[in-house]
């Protein structure tokens, strides 16, 4: 029996959603490729889709992780500024993921997100589209599956490495230039819709 290609879609997918990598979803091999809902597309196509999702969202949020919250190496401060500019362009809120220590049940979901129970922050703030950026890959993947399992939030991942199959849109090697490119696209689309 042929099993249809698994698609990475907003949930709630159920009690225990699978890892997309275990369902045959493969990360793109090329830098100018990305994943949209489990399928490999060009980075430009993924940017179009991400811009649409962010602009049509009721409550879009960016979740910056430790890799962009601390000025720990050259280039991070510029990247953080670019993320703020992206949030402004997309009219998105920002809730940080400052570290990975489990905080249940003490977390204040209004001000913080945690990879071990990210659904609490998404439910509390009624977030319908989110962007992960600057989160170590393992913790991003742990969180993205939990989000798909228990929420209907549309997930977008900016990865500085190879990307995340468990996000609905996944960019690999997402640097300063690419974040600015998405911001410009969103700004342009907003202008067109006026």
């Amino acid at each position: 029996m042929a099993i249809p290609q698994y698609r990475v879609l907003p949930g709630p997918e159920g009690y225990l959603p699978p890892a997309a990598a275990g369902m045959g979803v493969i990360l793109p091999r090329k830098k100018d490729e990305a994943l949209v809902e489990g399928a490999i597309v060009t980075r430009e196509e993924a940017m179009e889709k991400a811009a649409e999702k962010l602009l049509s969202a009721k409550k879009p949020y960016i979740f910056p992780g430790p890799l962009v919250l601390w000025n720990w190496k050259e280039g991070v401060a510029e990247k953080a500024q670019a993320i703020i500019a992206l949030a402004k362009a997309a009219n998105a809120g920002i809730i940080p993921m400052p570290d990975y220590r489990p905080k249940y049940p003490m977390i204040n979901p209004a001000v913080e997100i945690n990879p071990n129970h990210p659904n609490l922050t998404i439910w509390h703030n009624k977030i319908d589209v989110c962007v992960f950026v600057g989160v170590h890959c393992h913790y991003a993947n742990v969180a993205l599956k939990i989000i798909r399992g228990g929420t209907d939030c549309y997930t977008i991942a900016f990865c500085a490495e190879m990307g995340h199959e468990d996000a609905m849109i996944s960019f690999r090697e997402m640097g300063l230039a690419e974040i600015k490119q998405l911001t410009d696209l969103i700004t342009r689309k907003k202008g067109e819709s006026r």
Partner: protein
């Protein structure tokens, strides 16, 4: 420290000039580690592994490694190896048999902590009555620890797999341990011709800042104890976090497939894949199978060979495709329980054609005649 030139892994593996050495498997370990730009190695002796880590100790004395020491026992070694990897260094160790058993708790810990440790396992008997002789039973226990498992047929495989294991394990989206297994004595204590890259070349250094989990140094965010105790409470949120974590470790092994294809030339190798009878084996059982195939050809019986190089991730689709046509699958093994036959039965479309064995254990060699007898029965 010895000065070596850092080269691209593809250059070291595929393009550099090769020279032939007539060396033991243990010496092949030393030759691989010499070129692997390993920061640190930690050792504890156990037969048949002792000589390999002794030779790695010699490399330290010669200036190829930054640090080397002997642990208190295997559990201590594997724990220290975990600490070294968490601290962001490239680390190597080796063990085997009862040493594997003694250290066992640490193997799923390595995988769960996403540590790209490379460990050589030289298999031997572990079950009572105790024996130091060849037996691959410990591999059955290791299959589901979360680490990747390569199985070397000979000293050449051992050299190649060890060097390449570092590169595969350290890919940011993979970043789980690799166990390179070789059959004790048959590989470790016999000499073989091994083709090696120049000794003045080495792999690029490990970059711990691309790790999927924060490396534990104080230059790295979030700048504090970062591998906090996991969620261990009795509630669904804790269970879901743990489940997602386990899935992610398994997903990491799946992501390794493309690198195994590139560096090892695939998870399997096949010879004469259209034959009605296929021998499917890993480790030195492959060599015995190859000898039996030659003997069978002398009797006019056409037999193919499927060599499994990588057991985790398991080459499910490759085995399915390469055995779909055949009438019989013979699985020779050096252990009592037949763990490889079980694995193969679980993935082939018609598992009634899997011949359980032949098997030897407790240190026995496997005469080619045993496999040939199975071939004759299948062809009758």
């Amino acid at each position: 420290m010895i000065t070596q030139k850092i080269v691209d892994p593809d250059y070291l593996f595929f393009q550099s000039e090769r020279s032939k050495m007539f060396i033991t498997g243990s010496e092949a370990v030393s030759e691989a580690i010499k070129r692997a730009n390993v920061d640190m190695a930690i050792a504890y002796p156990i037969t048949p592994q002792s000589e390999s880590m002794h030779l790695v100790g010699d490399l330290y004395a010669e200036g190829y490694l930054k640090d080397y020491f002997r642990g208190e026992n295997e559990f201590s070694v594997m724990s220290a190896v975990a600490g070294a990897a968490m601290g962001g260094v490239r680390v190597f160790t080796a063990t085997g048999g009862p040493g594997t058993m003694r250290a066992f708790e640490m193997f799923p810990t390595w995988a769960g902590a996403r540590l790209p440790v490379v460990c050589a396992f030289f298999t031997r008997g572990v079950n009572s009555p105790l024996t130091i002789q060849p037996d691959t039973i410990e591999m059955a226990y290791m299959l589901d620890t979360g680490i990747m498992i390569f199985h070397a047929e000979n000293a050449q495989d051992l050299y190649d797999m060890l060097l390449k294991a570092f590169v595969i394990a350290e890919q940011p989206e993979v970043h789980i341990p690799v166990g390179v297994f070789a059959d004790g004595f048959f590989v470790t204590h016999t000499r073989d011709e091994v083709s090696t890259a120049p000794a003045d070349l080495k792999l690029p250094a490990y970059d711990p800042y691309s790790s999927p989990v924060p490396v534990m140094d104080m230059n790295n965010v979030p700048l504090r104890q970062m591998r906090d105790p996991f969620v261990m409470k009795s509630n669904f949120i804790s269970y879901a976090a743990h489940a997602s974590w386990q899935q992610e470790v398994a997903a990491a092994a799946q992501r390794a497939r493309r690198y195994i294809d590139h560096y090892l030339g695939g998870l399997v190798e096949s010879e004469n894949p259209g034959a009605d009878i296929m021998i499917v084996a890993s480790g030195t059982a492959v060599s015995q199978g190859r000898a039996a195939i030659i003997a069978a050809a002398g009797e006019g019986i056409d037999v193919g060979l499927l060599k499994i190089k990588c057991l985790r991730p398991f080459p499910t689709e490759e085995i399915k495709a390469l055995t779909r046509h055949c009438k019989a699958i013979i699985v020779p093994e050096f252990n009592r329980i037949g763990w490889l036959a079980r694995e193969i039965k679980a993935v082939v479309e018609d598992n009634s054609k899997v011949v359980d064995g032949p098997r030897v254990f407790g240190g026995m060699t496997m005469p080619t005649e045993m496999i040939l007898e199975s071939i004759r029965r299948c062809s009758a």
